[in-house]
Each structure stands twice: as C-alpha cells, then as structure tokens.
C-alpha cells in the first residue's frame, strides 16, 4: 500500500470542511457540504473542482503528431493548434488503457491529460511507443533515424482546477490575476484552449469538462494553485459558485453519459463496445490496437432509466424478466437532476435497442428499466 497523495490544494479543502475519499491513490474531496447541493449548483450556476490528481504528459518534437497518430486511437495530426480532442490509448488487443484529452499546443507540441489512476500505465505505454514508432511505416533507414519525439510526465509540476456550470464564462472572465488571455473569453470554443498568465505564471485555459455543462479547466504550475483557487472562489461567489467534490462530479458525468475509466472503460473493453467507435480513426495506416475490432455478440454499453427512487449500482446484474443475466451495471445513481434512477450497463446486444425493457437486480429485487439513448441529460445551448 503506497502512501496516499494529496494535491497542492489540500489545505484549502480541509479549511472548507471537505470529506476526503481515495481516488486512484489520491485523497480527494468527495464533498464539502452536500453532494446534491454541489450537483445542483453546477447545473444551475457553477462548481469549482480540484482535479489536480489528473496526469499531464507533454509530447514534443518534429514527429510528435505522427507519433500520436501511431500511439493513440484517433487522428491527432490533423488537429489545429489551439484545439483539444478526446482520444483513447489502446493496448495491442484493442482494450482501453485510458481515455485522454489531447491539446495541440504548437505544430510540434502536444499536451495529454490522462486519469490519475492510470498515470503509470499511460507513462509506460507512451514511452514504449516512442522506439516502436521509429520503425513504423519507415520509407528508409535515414527516415527512421531522423524521427524526433520526446515524452515527458509533467504531472507533478501542475495543478488543474475546473470551473463548470452555466455561469462559468462570467466567473472565469472576472478572476483577478488572469492576464494576457490569448483568445477573448467569449470567443473561446468548446474543446479549444487559450494561453494566459495568472499572477505571472503560465496558465492554460481549456474549455473542456466532465459535467455536461459549459466550463473551463485551468492548468497552472502547482505553486500557483492555491492562489488561483482562492481567486476563482472569490470571482464565483456572486454567481453562486460553490466548491464541489468527486461525488457531485460522478453524478454529473453519469447524467451526461460520460464514461469513467474503471467503470465503463477497461483493458477488457474495446472502444466500439463502449460506444466510442467514432474516436478510433480506423483508416489510419498503423496504430496500436488497429488489429482488434469488437467481435459480434460482445456486450455493448447502454443507458438505462427506471422509475421510483431505488438505483441500480455498479456491479449489479441486468436480468430478463425470468432472471437470466443479460449484463452488468457499470455506474448507477438516482439522478439528482432528473429525479429517477439512471445507469450505464454493458448488456447483450440483443437487448440493447432503445425502448427495450430489462430488469435491474437491486439486491434481490427486480426493478424494470428501459434502454435509453445517452446522454440522460443535455444542457440547453
């Protein structure tokens, strides 16, 4: 058992009265006061999240783009500088090592943000794929020897703070200390980033998130994290911003139909099974995981809704009326926004059509549920 890690914002969370929970080896705030109140604040106003546990990798070099086309499932080489893209790191057999967001910082420079719990696996895979890439699709030896790409794990140097919710733009645009914003706030697009400074420290502002709302993720050097947290809380207070923990983050992302590694995604899950086939650029000539496609008959990820207030939970069986096992729930909760139970589950594709009635085995009680298109919740534009 390795010692629990804390982010640079530990003292801030403690003084706000947070309860902590283990997440990927990190002690993270699970809630400050009420996870329901935090959830509703993000849907109606804004929430402030410490997500500094997430891992950051920088990929640099004249062949960085080509390397990422080989190392990741998507096509990153055609992404414009200033944009961000959701992608997957696949194993040779097509299983998912992690889901990541890739930011193109410059023509030959990228940032990858990955899950905290997968940091070591991602670091290992990215490193191992550098020498492998040198020999992929080479035209001649001179080509191979000219290739240049480096991978650095920069996780410990950075903190990541998310402002999420409909009031996010008003809040971040008034944070004191943010200067030289590269793109005017109102012109920053979803899945794009802008550079800036916060109290003299470089700041990367990404319009991304994991809540189903508009929002920003702010990447700063670890030493500036506490000051940025304080400044964001101060700017947000008039707009109803509250600090929000992982409990709210989980129900928010579930309502938004977003997968969580370890639940919907795993080494045993292929992208198409998880509804992420669109993330894989299968027409690329060579990339790790290309050989593997989901087999017919594999269980597929679906959304399920039920009536009442009793939620199916991760690990519970999805069964037919006569009790035959059709699959398993990967995430489930009573949706705070919708007021009824929602779940994601991998089930037999025969039962995966929208509108199909299945049953959740909730500790011995069979509760009817309906296969529903994801996401459960979609924000109004």
């Amino acid at each position: 058992m390795t010692e629990a890690r804390y982010t640079p914002l530990r003292e801030r969370h403690e003084s706000l009265g947070a309860s902590f929970t283990d997440f990927g080896g990190w002690q993270m705030p699970v809630r400050y006061t009420s996870d329901l109140a935090e959830h509703h604040a993000v849907r109606q106003a804004a929430g402030l999240f410490d997500i500094s546990h997430m891992a950051e990798f920088t990929i640099d070099g004249t062949d960085a783009a080509g390397y990422l086309d080989y190392a990741l499932a998507g096509r990153l080489s055609t992404m414009a500088v200033g944009k961000a893209k959701y992608s997957l790191l696949l194993a040779e057999d097509g299983g998912i090592i992690d889901d990541v967001i890739v930011y193109r910082l410059a023509h030959d420079s990228f940032l990858i943000i990955s899950n905290a719990g997968n940091r070591d696996a991602v670091a290992e895979a990215l490193s191992a794929r550098v020498p492998a890439f040198m020999n992929v699709l080479v035209t001649d030896e001179a080509d191979a020897s000219r290739r240049s790409v480096t991978v650095d794990d920069a996780s410990d140097a950075y903190a990541l703070i998310a402002v999420q919710g409909p009031a996010s733009e008003e809040i971040v645009s008034t944070i004191e200390g943010i200067t030289e914003v590269g793109t005017p706030w109102s012109e920053q697009k979803y899945y794009a980033w802008a550079d800036a400074f916060f109290q003299g420290h470089p700041l990367l502002i990404a319009r991304t998130g994991y809540t189903g709302e508009d929002g920003f993720e702010l990447l700063v050097p670890a030493e500036a994290a506490a000051a940025l947290w304080d400044a964001a809380l101060a700017a947000g207070a008039p707009h109803g911003l509250v600090p929000a923990g992982l409990a709210a983050r989980d129900t928010l992302r579930l309502e938004a139909g977003m997968p969580l590694y370890g639940h919907e995604l795993s080494r045993d899950t292929k992208p198409a099974q998880a509804g992420l086939g669109r993330v894989v650029a299968s027409d690329k000539e060579a990339f790790v995981g290309k050989s593997a496609l989901a087999a017919d008959g594999d269980r597929v990820l679906v959304g399920l809704t039920a009536e009442g207030r009793r939620a199916g939970r991760a690990g519970y069986a999805v069964v037919s009326e006569d009790g035959a096992v059709l699959g398993e729930i990967t995430s489930g909760a009573l949706s705070p926004t919708l007021g009824h139970p929602i779940a994601m589950a991998f089930i037999d594709p025969v039962f995966a059509d929208e509108g199909t009635t299945v049953h959740l085995d909730v500790r011995g009680t069979k509760i009817p549920a309906t296969v529903t298109a994801l996401p459960f919740y979609r924000r109004k534009k």
């Binding site: 309860s19 809630r31 996870d35 329901l36 207030r309 939620a311 939970r313 009573l334 500790r363």
Partner: protein, 125 residues
C-alpha cells in the same frame, strides 16, 4: 435538540432512545455524513417482528447503500413516514426528525450498547 448523552449507540452507527419497553432508532450523524446525501429510505412495515442483527431497512445516498440493522429484537410499532417522503431529514436532523423506526422491545436491550463517550471514541478511533 436531543440530548445525545441520553442515547445508546451501536457499533453499526445507530442510536437508540429507550423509554421503558419502547426504543426509537435512527442512524448517527457520523453515519449520515459518511453516506452523503440520503435520497432513499426503505423501512420495515408496522407490525414486523425484527430480530437483533438482522437487516430491516436500507438507506441509500447518491453514492452508496447503507443497511439498517435491528439493534435488538422487537416489534415495529411506528415508522417515520416523513423520512420516507423526505430522506434528506436523515442528514439534516439525524437525531430528531430523521429517526427511522419505533420498536416494542422483546427480551430487553442488549448489553453491548455504547454510551455517548464510547461511541465518539469509536468514531474517532
């Protein structure tokens, strides 16, 4: 406000207010806090005979499921319908409006109840 030192406690983080042969039972503030926001409570029907240690109800939060254990044997004589309608009472008033069931005790209270000091020591330990 309930006098917390007048209550008995169990290692399963339940409290009992024993008055003659009647016990009012709920979960502690510590248990409610660990669960997070309670969103669903299932309680036994009035008239149910319960045996010590058996699971007689469920308390669900957004994040997890807690079980209500019968701390003693008895007959359920009243359940708190207000908490079924508004489960957030378990968090807001765990020792008052968030009580769960009232039971007529059969065969006396168990000997291994904790007093307030012992219970607080348990949660801080």
């Amino acid at each position: 406000m309930t006098d917390l030192t007048a209550l008995e406690y169990t290692a399963e983080h339940e409290w009992l207010d024993i008055d003659g042969d009647t016990a009012t039972i709920g979960i502690t503030d510590y248990a409610a806090d660990k669960l997070g926001d309670v969103v669903f409570v299932e309680l036994p029907a009035v008239g149910t005979e319960i045996t010590a240690g058996s699971v007689v109800g469920e308390i669900e939060s957004t994040k997890s499921v807690g079980e209500l254990y019968a701390p003693l044997a008895g007959t359920v004589i009243e359940v708190n319908d207000a908490v079924v309608d508004d489960p957030s009472l378990v968090n807001a008033e765990p020792f008052d409006g968030g009580w769960l069931i009232k039971v007529t005790i059969i065969g006396g209270a168990p000997a291994d109840m904790l007093d307030r000091d012992a219970y607080v020591a348990l949660t801080e330990g």
